[in-house]
């Protein structure tokens, strides 16, 4: 894909009529930012037009997506609730992507994380005072465990992890079904588990709407991941392995261990997302508690360029989009797909900005 070199090769040209693309050798950071901001702006503009065409006028858009979402206590607390697991799956994806391991199994890992927490909670393992911590540990272990098979397959047999992690999502979902229709089914015979014990097995509220202490868990995870990537030795190895694995090997880095450690950690973070959902929002295992987090996690990591701090910001904004989206579904009677559409438009526009970052576009007159 990447054709740029340090000058020894003449720039590659693609002739498309009179438009020529030339590979850029160098792009200042401010220009890079400008292209990114412009493409984001274009994406938002198209999104506004789409909403407008669906009957939500500019005033409605402003109210639903800005005023009642970010500048209103109820809305803002909902955004924080929404973004808590989003931060974690975003970090999870960003970590794995940094070592070029395309973890498409976020949802499976999240389910296993939720199940790990539920396993501890439903069996009342350990003293009540530390029950939540044990649930958290169970979630981390469950999520990490679910990356183990794809990881070993990839490292030993070079099996494509995109396929293996993706398929394990379905396996995880079936396992969940097996539990909530089986051994863990609640006494009311609905397809969900019994409720976790209040005051012992639930994350408490922080006193701002429905926002729970899960948000602290997510922010703490973001700080840890930032430290890991930006400051620790392991993080520097990680970045090298992701940037050039052959070189990393030749320079003597423990490439396999770095990939394995990173991927297990990625799985653990998705598992942690499962924990904050089941222990902080649902208070039980439900059939659909993991729905949609795969796509969101990938979108967050992509838009944040695998940067943990940016991932928090993107997750927050995406949370706002979902909260605003829920109210326009109700008040304007629009299908849920509209929100996916808006997300996709923004992602595509940001992707398109890559073209301008990589190439200089020249119009030649004949």
């Amino acid at each position: 894909m990447r054709q740029e070199t340090a000058g020894s090769v003449p720039s590659v040209r693609h002739g498309v009529g009179r438009i020529t693309l030339e590979v850029r050798q160098r792009l200042p950071a401010w220009k890079h930012g400008l292209y990114l901001a412009t493409s984001l702006g274009v994406g938002l503009l198209i999104s506004v037009l789409v909403l407008w065409a669906s009957g939500v006028g500019p005033k409605g858009i402003y109210e639903e997506f800005v005023l009642y979402t970010f500048f209103n206590a109820k809305g803002l607390s909902n955004v924080l609730v929404e973004c808590t697991p989003l931060i974690l799956v975003g970090l999870s994806a960003a970590l794995a992507f940094r070592v070029q391991f395309w973890n498409i199994g976020l949802e499976g890992q999240l389910i296993l994380g939720g199940m790990g927490a539920a396993f501890v909670a439903l069996n009342d393992y350990g003293p009540p005072e530390i029950r939540l911590w044990l649930m958290l540990a169970g979630a981390l272990a469950g999520g990490a465990l679910w990356t183990l098979v794809p990881l070993v397959l990839k490292l030993k047999l070079n099996v494509n992890e995109i396929i293996s992690t993706l398929l394990l999502n379905y396996v995880a979902f079936q396992l969940l079904q097996d539990r909530i229709y089986g051994a863990w089914q609640a006494a009311d015979r609905f397809p969900h588990s019994a409720q976790f014990d209040a005051g012992i097995e639930r994350l408490s509220r922080i006193g701002f709407g429905d926002v729970g202490t899960g948000i602290y868990v997510a922010l703490a995870a973001a700080v840890v991941v930032w430290w890991l990537i930006d400051r620790s030795r392991f993080g520097m190895f990680m970045t090298f392995v992701g940037s050039n694995a052959r070189m990393s090997k030749a320079v003597g880095l423990p490439v396999t261990a770095v990939v394995a450690g990173t991927v297990l950690l990625s799985g653990a973070l998705s598992g942690l997302a499962g924990f904050v959902v089941v222990a902080g929002q649902e208070y039980r295992l439900t059939a659909g508690f993991a729905g949609g987090y795969l796509f969101s996690g990938i979108v967050i990591a992509f838009l944040a360029r695998n940067n943990p701090v940016a991932a928090v910001v993107v997750a927050f904004l995406l949370g706002g989009l979902y909260v605003g989206g829920q109210s326009i579904q109700v008040f304007y009677n629009l299908p849920a797909g509209v929100i996916d559409l808006l997300q996709a438009i923004v992602v595509m526009c940001v992707t398109a900005s890559e073209l301008f970052v990589r190439y200089r576009i020249i119009w030649r007159r004949q």
């Binding site: 740029e4 340090a6 030795r233 970045t239 090298f240 320079v251």
Partner: protein
Amino acid sequence: MGTALSLRDISKSFDGRPALADVSLDIEWGKVHALLGENGAGKSTLMNIAAGLYAQDEGRVFFGDTELTDNDPRHAKSLGIGMVHQHFKLVFPFTVAENVLLANPKGGYGRGLAETKRQIVEQSGKLGFALDPDAPVDSLSVAEQQRAEIIKVLLGGARLIILDEPTAVLTDEEAQALLSTMRVLAGQGNAVILVTHKLHEVPAYTDVVTVMRGGRKIETIASKEATPADLTKMMVGSALAEIKHRPATEHGVVLEVQDATLGRADGAGALNGLSMQVRGGEIYGVAGVGGNGQTELAAALIGLKSLESGTILMEGDNVTAADTRTLRRRGVAFVPAERMAYGLAEDMSVASNYAIAGVDRGEFGGPLWTRQGRIAATTQTAISQFEIAGAAPTTRAGLLSGGNAQKLVLARELREDARLLVVHSPTRGLDVRACAAVHRILMEARDRGAAIVLISEDLDEIFKISDRIGVINRGRIVGEFDAPADRHEVGALMVGHA
């Protein structure tokens, strides 16, 4: 017969580094013309100009009576100039016929494909080999893929066929079959150019040979009049070996390789019982034509590949099974031939690339906190010490020029306590000044007592700084010489059949 291609006073330079200087060449119809020279002699550049891939800086290109101005690959192809590149341009996983059709589209897909299949069978029959048009190209052997490339070029209407190092990837039998095919093509009235650095292919299979060296044409003579001795002399030059500025000081044996064997992916042997011994304080030059096991030797010494049999001893300890990490901890350093692939992470900063090995050793803080400030300061010192031009610690490594990128790799690898340096083609693509700097740096490391294995396809370089020279041919050291060695003896062993 008449002249097919005429190149007049061609000059070409890349970023100010001359690749070709005033080269003139005439290719005649009905003949196989060998273009002989060492790596970097300018053969491929010249052919890429003829095929329209590069534009010459100066000079003119004629095909028949037409002058090719503003040449490009499509134009060259339409006139009948076809090139089979060293790296094949086939699209996996499509079939032979689909690949040929892609390069030479005709009409609709269905009818075009049927017609193409018929032509492939007919054409391969004429050339005397079988090629299944329905075979997916990735199921073919390298030799068969090459045949597919040749058929593709011929069905594209080529009458001048350029083969760039076609035998480099073939076994001896396959190479002979290919060379016979070239004779058939010439017999049909086409012109064939065989770009090669293999001497022994010249007398038996070609009519005319042109020798190039250092971007210049040395001579064009009839192949049957060319003796191997003459050709060797023309290829490697008659420069006398330079006197060493200082003899190596005696140290103990650092590296010993015994009967190393290592296979290649295609089953051919890359190392076939290679043995060598290198002492501390000496530069051991491994001379050879590319593809005789140099890459595998470097990979084995640094632990990137493990030997199938044989032993590697380092300072008396058996390190045959040691991985790169272990070897590096023992003081092995590596300057790879492909510096952007194996030497640097081009998306990362100069400072990160410089410091990564030190970070691993704990020189820039513990595992929990990497001291970026100290990295930047140390890198700045290295930048001045190694004269890495145009680099700040924060510069992206991929933006460095070849010479400066190489200096960066050397700056990282050449530590005071390096015991063994494996250096592969360290000056490839560098200008004279950078070459001299790299050589000086290597000599200094030698004087500190390091053992240096210098693997290079550039004989000048080998002769300039080696204390001993081992000639590698078909995966083994076939002769060793103490400097100053006789260049022609070395050259003869390099190109001879071992």
